[in-house]
Point group: C3
Chain length 154, copies 3
Amino acid sequence: MLPIPTKYFISFGSCNADHPLNAFDGALLSAGVGNTNLVRVSSILPPSAVEVKNLVLPYGALVPIAYASKVSTNKGERIAAAAGIGIPEDPSLPGLIMEYSCSGSKEEAEKTVLEMVEEGFAMRGFKLLEKKAVTTDIVVDKAACAFACVVLWY
Amino acid sequence: MLPIPTKYFISFGSCNADHPLNAFDGALLSAGVGNTNLVRVSSILPPSAVEVKNLVLPYGALVPIAYASKVSTNKGERIAAAAGIGIPEDPSLPGLIMEYSCSGSKEEAEKTVLEMVEEGFAMRGFKLLEKKAVTTDIVVDKAACAFACVVLWY
Amino acid sequence: MLPIPTKYFISFGSCNADHPLNAFDGALLSAGVGNTNLVRVSSILPPSAVEVKNLVLPYGALVPIAYASKVSTNKGERIAAAAGIGIPEDPSLPGLIMEYSCSGSKEEAEKTVLEMVEEGFAMRGFKLLEKKAVTTDIVVDKAACAFACVVLWY
């Protein structure tokens, strides 16, 4: 099987650019994941995974990642993305990652993503030790991206 | 290279929830894949891969999976998802996985996905030994998801 | 961690079929990646990755790939897809892959994807040694797909 990640890293970024995919690319650079190959997953924290800061990822690495992303070309629109994490009381159980993006503010995105974390824990019958979120927003000029992520790593 | 899966497991699930991503999460739990990191692939059965039942996946594992998913927030709408498999006569050849989701019933989704398996075999000039499908549907309350999958495993 | 690819392979394909996913499947076959499990990534050339030709991928392999794809069921519409690559002057830096698809011709898709490569290099402050693109288009009959890709391999 593929190796199970043992660490995680939360981040976010946003960017305006000429083309939508460049705005996405710029948001990834701003989040510190831009020179890697993101492998999008849905979206669980392995039990006892450890949070790390200032993770430097090798260029071109295959990086498992859960993320929320919104791209827009509607000049003047505010767009937001949030990633939420729930950590269970029982460390033998998995944690939960939720992603949410919208037209709106980062406060709205954060509120919703934390509700989603709570609903996911309730659905599992797991007790929540801690929940947290990262969120960002940006006003669109030509093409913009708001991006929030949880990188899973080793 | 990444290791080639040697087993497969077919499943399905559906769920109503408050938020669309929670409905998706609930459908994954119902299908037995909800506490893992799904890595979506398109979508081939490795030659001679063996079907297994009651697969228990490690929490947080990176799980290659082909799936059909439909999420809706249109109250009263019936949504359906189906995953189809075609097994070739020649065991040295790969099998084919097809995914289909729609607004409609599970019978409609199953009929279409099996046509897609046949078309995929015809396109390859492979002889079909066996075809099968899993399918599910659900009527939307607030936010719902219909989900059908083929997990590739080791 | 997952192994970092060391080679790459560029390709493209297009196909008309009865169902949209079969058109996608046919385009993959035409591009030489159709009997594998594509793991879509976004989208960096690892430093010093070597271009190869005529790559034969094992049936059912998990294949990291960056791709542009457009599927349409609008009879008579021309659809196009392009994948662009930028190679940096400094071989210790990563290269960049950009993907673009549209309703239109392959020439339009190629022009845009090469602009995107240039914008991505400008954003990073990297000097561009070489840029190139692959592109394709097709006129839709019942359901069609235009597809262009960069396979990352070992």
